[in-house]
């Protein structure tokens, strides 16, 4: 069986994007399960410490196309490099971030290679399959699991007969996990001129305005979210205090944002940001469906509410029935007491 490949995105700061490190972490697990190697593809200019960044996550081979023309990202040159590399190596699985780059690039590659691509997977697993009609058995396929139809159904998609099995995954869905800090791989510098044509640069980038990410709740592992039940901007400060102590980020519901308790950038839900932290603490949040849509995939949910019937409690792992003004200071106190 051939290797697992992950396309690694390069950020404005010339490092590897978090979503790619998450995918590399997942890719390592899949590769281990299949007994194959994990390869990364990086297209960009100078990236500092690329080996130091990627090897601890278990990358065995870094395929590095290094050329100043490859940053910022453009579809065609990256497309030419990745498709040629895939034709040479015939990966078993290829993963991409479901970002504005990955969602632009991966479909074009899948189309060229005439293989399947599943967008926005939330779970990736290895499993077997028996074809109903023919009885043909497939071993070790990639189960590409994703919500579909406005989140009303969960579908398991497979791609039995074509390779690579391609999938995109959104940031924050997979866990970033170091495989082994002393793991070492090899780096394979691609001769860029063998991979790209001059025509690939036919789209001219005239201007770019990339804003610094000031608030990063999308990537936060811990989120403390305040709802309308916080009551006032003054009380909302407690949300910030708890978040600071437990090293989390602050989020808010639409109602809390509309009431002026918190800035819009922190709004979580259908019309805000979708988050999947490992811990979500909902404080005075009733849990309207639009809010749940943006946080229900959090690994652990704690709800603090005076109303035992609040819908948020239905999806919470821990429900604290009580007043946020009493509970939050206690959480801070006992967190400090138990971490000393």
């Amino acid at each position: 069986m051939n290797n697992v490949f992950v396309y690694c995105e390069v950020t404005e700061e010339r490092t590897i994007a978090d979503v790619s490190l998450e995918l590399v972490s997942k890719g390592k697990k899949l590769a281990n399960e299949l007994g194959v190697k994990l390869e990364a593809i990086v297209c960009g200019d100078e990236i500092k410490d690329i080996e130091k960044i990627l090897y601890p996550y278990g990358v065995d081979v870094i395929n590095y196309a290094k050329d100043s023309r490859l940053f910022p990202y453009q579809t065609l040159p990256h497309f030419s490099i990745v498709t040629k590399l895939f034709q040479e190596n015939k990966p078993e699985i290829a993963l991409f971030g479901a970002t504005s780059v990955g969602r632009d690039l991966a479909p074009r590659i899948a189309s060229f290679l005439r293989t399947g691509l599943t967008a926005d997977c939330t779970t990736l697993e290895i499993g077997d399959h028996t074809e109903n009609k023919t009885g043909k058995e497939y071993k070790n396929l990639l189960y590409q699991i994703r919500p579909a139809f406005g989140g009303n159904i969960i579908a398991t998609i497979i791609n039995p007969d074509h390779r690579p099995q391609m999938a995109t995954v959104r940031e924050g869905v997979m866990k970033k996990e170091v495989f082994n800090n002393s793991h070492k791989g090899i780096i394979n510098f691609l001769k860029v001129e063998d991979y790209v044509k001059n025509d690939d640069f036919c789209i001219k980038i005239i201007e770019r305005h990339i804003e610094q990410q000031k608030i990063n709740i999308k990537g936060a592992q811990i989120i403390v979210c305040g709802g309308y039940g916080m009551g006032s901007k003054e009380n909302f400060k407690l949300i910030h205090q708890l978040a600071e102590v437990i090293q989390g980020e602050v989020g808010a519901t639409r109602a809390a944002v509309d009431a002026g308790m918190c800035e819009h950038e922190r709004q979580i839900g259908q019309t805000g940001v979708t988050v999947r932290p490992k811990l979500y603490i909902a404080c005075g949040v009733s849990g309207a469906v639009q809010h749940r849509a943006g946080m229900q995939e959090s690994s652990k949910i704690i709800s603090i509410n005076t109303d035992p019937k609040a819908p948020i409690n239905a999806i919470a792992d821990y429900t604290i029935i009580g007043d946020v003004m009493e509970v939050l200071p206690k959480m801070i106190k006992y967190y400090k007491a138990n971490t000393k």
Partner: protein, 290 residues
């Protein structure tokens, strides 16, 4: 030389307003219970095409939609708003297409239309949210793609300058033709129906629609050919059967599960000091915190 714009549009079930009866008991989607609408971002795409047409003399806009014969409604709607003509690609053979088979079918229809300058589509359809058909169609046409377009900054017969919406900012790019553009939902909303066009095109029909109504349009089409909504089968677009529908789709659905919001096994905790201390201890020892 006229300037040809092709707009890709899809009729989709309105997943934003999913009611109680939207899901059947077996967990599959009850499409009949959902209203069929013009995919929202395809309307943004149509507006971008109309905007370009406002700036380029002799530009024409053709709609391509793939789906059952009732998708002719989408073509008519686009005509009311300013499109010149349209085609429904409809064939039992295309049922069950994934994005690869869909993009193949659409690219064959585009090739049948002949040379084009621009193909414009919505970024994604709300019934799948994959955003794959645009880039895949561009690949099949071997033309460059500009995704997530938000605004046309400048356009003439030779080149176009587009503002793209990215996750953390914007980018302005320029290219010549041909090119495929996908349009982001943050782009300008589509202009509404034009009263005169509504009068002109309300009788536009496809063959299947006429058959269903038991009407004969041969005379009307002779006099007013613009009232014909073309319908193309797989054979009309010279498609290879092996690349269509379920057969041509590498991805298969193995399993579908209904999402039921079941009550999780929730641990109920009081705000007492002892309980709060135990909770924090548990979170720390299970590495959820700290």
């Amino acid at each position: 030389m006229s300037f040809r714009i092709i707009v890709l549009a899809k009729q989709v079930p309105d997943t934003r307003n999913v009611g109680k009866d939207a899901m059947k008991e077996d967990g599959t989607v009850n499409r009949a219970a959902l209203p069929a609408i013009f995919n929202p971002e395809d309307l943004n795409a149509l507006e971008m095409a109309l905007n370009i047409k406002d700036n380029i003399k002799d530009a024409t806009i053709s709609i391509i939609t793939m789906g059952p014969s009732r998708a002719a409604e989408i073509v008519r709607e686009a005509m009311y708003r300013g499109a010149d003509n349209g085609v429904v690609v409809s064939d039992r053979k295309v049922a069950g297409s994934d994005t690869l088979a869909t993009s193949y079918t659409i690219s064959q229809a585009i090739k049948r239309m002949g040379e084009f300058d621009l193909v414009i589509a919505g970024r994604q359809a709300i019934d799948g949210d994959t955003a794959q058909v645009g880039p895949q169609t561009a690949e099949k046409l071997e033309c460059p793609q500009i995704t997530y377009a938000e605004e046309v900054i400048q356009v003439d017969e030779n080149k176009i300058r587009i503002k793209r919406r990215l996750e953390r900012g914007v980018e302005i790019v320029e290219t010549s033709y041909p090119c495929l553009i996908t349009v982001h939902g943050s782009a300008k909303e589509c202009r509404s129906r034009h009263a005169k066009r509504l009068m002109k095109y309300k009788l536009a029909k496809s063959n299947s629609e006429l058959q269903e109504l038991g009407q004969d349009y041969s005379n009307i089409w002779n006099e007013r050919p613009y009232l014909k909504i073309e319908e193309w089968s797989a054979a009309d677009i010279i498609a290879e059967d092996s690349r269509l529908g379920l057969t041509g789709s590498p991805t298969k659905v193995k399993k579908i599960e209904n999402v039921v919001l079941t009550q999780k096994e929730s641990k109920v905790i009081t705000p007492k000091d002892e309980d709060m201390n135990d909770l924090m201890k548990e979170l720390i020892s299970s590495h959820i915190l700290g």
